[in-house]
Symmetry: C2
Subunit: 286 residues, 2 copies
């Protein structure tokens, strides 16, 4: 079984991403339910047609009827949830997630699950600077990348089901990486970029900067508006990979700085041509 | 005289910015002419209604009839142009520019001009990753900042005329800075951001990165697609200010790196909250 019109899907965690999953899947005609900590989030999701039913406690009936459960929680909350409630999951259920780091959770979660329940990890490369279900929007998945992160414990069936989920919510390019490769890629592409934006924003306290800025600074610092609770957890959960990417980047930055200091215009232009050439691959294909 | 329906404006240099000025001013009903090195640029501008007349040589008739001349040239080309052709400018003409650095040109240009010709420097904070008149578009000025950079040699009349020009092309916030302050601001807001994007793009050559990326990396590296000839000139023309900003930024980046290395989550979160707070000021007001 992949996804078909009879697949029942439960979303655990109705924040920005959970709400966006619920909205996308309901729009595609699936029967979607939701479990959240706050009753207001459940009510919001129901009122906006994102879920057919929901609960602000761990409702075993909702869990039991679901064929697929999507966990949209902070990493440590996800692990705690499985530790506390994993035994309530029905054999035959496939569970997946949206977590931004994988190595530190995927093996631990798989080891805790009862027999017959399979966890296939995934990471939709979509988000926003604002958190909470009120900001959820299924358009964030349009043209986005989606990474499935299987381990040796996963079945071909669950992997295919997870890929189908990524396509169903609207993602464009579905790829497969092992957990270690995923965490290295994400350290560079996502975590390092947030480190840069935060550092840049902290680096200057001149008044009135907003009156003099152009779009390049605005674009670079969009993600400097950051959820400090979530991102500090993600950074530390992927510490070694992130430090390696921070150091590799800083070596390039230092090289460019030396070019400026020494007036080495030729080497500076070489770096700029390399960056221009490489950047071409990254334009979004929607 | 500020700008009125009789003001004749000549654009020297019909590239991305020069073309966008010409388009914006023609759309507002001004009589606009253009001088460019390449006949094709002149033809393109005329064919697209950006200019009423143009020339691919330094046409003294076009210069003589202009009340206001906008130079949209690389810094060293602008200085060379004034050295070679400045004597052809008619007394009473006001000239302005779009150059991204000011300290290294404004005094030199003012000193070379014949009596009665006044240079008032300006910097529209607008641009694109692509160069050439084919990419020009007067919408780049919408909501953009515009900085007027007078020296003690400037008259109130020329300053007001230059401000009126910024408003006329569609810029939102017109401010005034001295050359040194401008160059310091721009080192941080514009040049440093380009250094970061280039360094980031140079730092990783993993294949298939584009399949795993999210929008944060795309936004941060948009300007990694960079005109190496122009930007290397701008970096070196503002070397001391740029080095100071690179070092200030790197100190913050290093501090964040140490937080990751040492697991100092509290300090990390403090930096994130500071960056979030500061970033709020930068949302574009259009």
């Amino acid at each position: 079984m992949l996804l078909d019109s009879h697949t029942k899907i439960c979303i655990v965690g109705l924040g920005l991403l959970g709400g966006s999953y619920a909205a996308a899947l309901s729009r595609q005609g699936y029967y979607v339910t939701g479990i959240a900590r706050r009753q207001e989030s459940v009510d919001y999701a129901a009122a906006h047609g994102m879920i057919a039913r929901g609960s602000a406690f761990v409702d075993e009936k909702l869990l039991g009827e679901a064929d697929l459960i999507v966990f949209s929680l902070y990493p440590h909350v996800f692990i705690e949830w499985i530790r506390e409630h994993g035994s309530k999951l029905r054999p035959g259920t496939v569970i997946t997630d949206v977590t931004g780091v994988k190595g530190c959770i995927v093996h631990e979660v798989q080891a805790m699950l009862p027999g017959g329940v399979e966890f296939i990890a995934a990471h939709p490369m979509a988000g926003r600077e604002s958190s909470g279900i009120e900001y959820s929007d299924d358009r964030i998945f349009r043209g986005a990348n989606y990474i499935v992160v299987p381990t040796e414990a996963n079945s071909e069936r669950a992997i295919e089901m997870c890929k189908a989920l990524g396509e169903t919510i609207g993602c464009k390019d579905i790829s497969v990486l092992d957990a270690e490769s995923h965490d290295r890629m994400i350290a560079f592409l996502s975590q390092l970029t947030h480190c840069i934006a935060v550092s840049l924003m902290c680096a200057c306290d001149e008044p009135d900067l907003e009156r003099y800025t152009g779009d390049s600074f605005r674009d670079l610092t969009r993600i400097a508006n950051i959820n400090d609770e979530m991102w500090s957890e993600l950074f530390l959960a992927n510490k070694d990979a992130l430090l390696a990417e921070m150091d590799a980047y800083r070596a390039c930055f230092d090289e460019l700085r030396d070019c400026v200091a020494n007036g080495d215009r030729e080497r500076m232009r070489e770096m700029m041509r390399l960056s221009t050439e490489r950047r071409k691959r990254f334009n979004k294909k929607v």
